[in-house]
Amino acid sequence: MTLPSPEILLQLSINGALGGAMYGVAAVGLSLIFGTMRLIFLAQGAMIILAAYLVRALFQHLGIDPFLSLLIMVPVGLVAGWLIYQGLFRKAAAEEDRNISLLIAVGVMFLVQNLMTVIWGGNTAAVVTTYTASGIELLGVRASFTRSMGFLIALAGTALVVLFLRKTLVGKAVRAASEDMTAATLMGISPHKVNAIAFAIGIALAGAAGVAVATTFPFNPFAGFIFSLKALVALALGGIGNVTGALAGGIILGLIEAYTQFFISGGWTNAIAYGVFLAVLMFKPEGLFSRPYKKA
């Protein structure tokens, strides 16, 4: 086998990184929710696809540009996340058996998937705009415009979340609760409040990811679960509970997928992605980016 040209490698890397950022932004949401609630929110992917359908509806019926609809999707996501927590997870969060929350998430996934099928049908949908086919050429490689925008959305979304967690007192409370919920309550931090905040931000990110997905990929109501799985892989790569790591993990997963597809075959992409996932879980469960923790 001859080694491909540097252009091709660069092109592969760009495609992989741009696509992987979508997994990353989904993983950031999962990471926040897992952090405070210890819940694997399996419905995150379904929420992203739901957001993609809403973006399409706004575009088709009201003529709102998909990227402009971010201004609607993010606030709607914040409110929806808050409501989902208060309505569905508040009670289960207090239970010690975490299966209950997990199953509610599964129920939400079923519900959302099938609601979408009933409303929009089971066929593949896409959002096609005047700029869908356009791209940016640089140094002989081409980056699709919509994918680049998706990448920017993922980057900006993660940056905002990190700023919130690092710079605001409420954000610090969310981090504190992720580390030690009991100690956090002794500071007067309400678990329900931090859980609801994590959920609100998680679903708002799903809204933003929905914009990115709608403009780049064809999607169908059942694509969400695979998306959730990929986000979980990204989460594990980045280290569970590490927000920037989650985004980086998504990008790495995108790169792995792009290279496997090119060098091996498309059929093995998932097996290799999950193989890396298993290996990381077993040999570096704290994620790829954690430095060994020094005890004084």
Partner: protein, 327 residues
Amino acid sequence: MTAMANVSWKWAAALLTIILALVPFWPGAIDSYLLSFLFFVFIYAVMAQGWNLVAGFGGQISLGSHAFFGLGAYTTAILWSGNYLWGSLYETFPRIYYFDPVTMVLSGLVAALAAALIGLPLLSKLRGDYFALGTLGFGEIVKVIFVNGGDFTGGAFGVIAPSSTFETLMPHYWTGLGLTVGTAVAIGWLMRSRYGLALIAVRDDEMAASANGINTLKVKVAAFAGSAFIAGLAGSLYSYYIFHVGPDSVFNLDWMLLPLMMTVVGGTGTILGPVLGAFIMYAVFDVARIIVPDYHPIISGLTIILAMLFLPKGLVRKILPMSVARN
């Protein structure tokens, strides 16, 4: 008092089993909807019982049971369609693979072996959510391997077994009933044995169990493999029903999610919970499918959410006295 309730409960269960076993003799029952309904209830009950062994009694949430179900189904279909087991006997007895106990047990063993192989590294390294995620990843890998398995696994299409052997649903029904009762009795007995006590000890406090000389890894891997064996048997039984074993049908995540849900609705860590949960949840799903075909998955989703919101500890613990529920 509780002993009395216990004994009478066992008689009631035995009586119910006999009645269920006689159902196919009812005039017209063979072609009825009831029979196939109960057949599916049995498959789900067996799957739920298997998941309950490792998750309910063992405390290790596995999200990979669909992989073991699929391995069992594929083993039966491949052994049969390729005639790997009985050689020339197959020509003399063309029905030899149909509900062949050797094939079925082998299917369970293949699943159990896979579970032991993957469980050993996973369970020695991973705990709690990480183990759950690991099993989920494993399930997806197995699926991809079968899709890419070439002629041996039939690729994305799968394997076809000779469906001409099918006559009635009666063997399916009785085998399903037998497996349901058999797994319940076997696990009930197991949980009272030394092994069962060790398993519960590991679930409740791994450190303490280990300090008391229990080899916790061995206990956990055994539960994981046992649960996979049961799932493999269920998969084998299912392959006699669909004949076309393909990755999308037998590695479908529903084979993991639905039994998990049924167990939790019925009551995790109880023997009757998985059976009761399978019956009730499958009834809800199937009734919804018949009455409102377009919306039934929505109703399924709603049912899970409502069940978890209002019955988080499971039905069994709600309707039966504790002493009975535990058995």
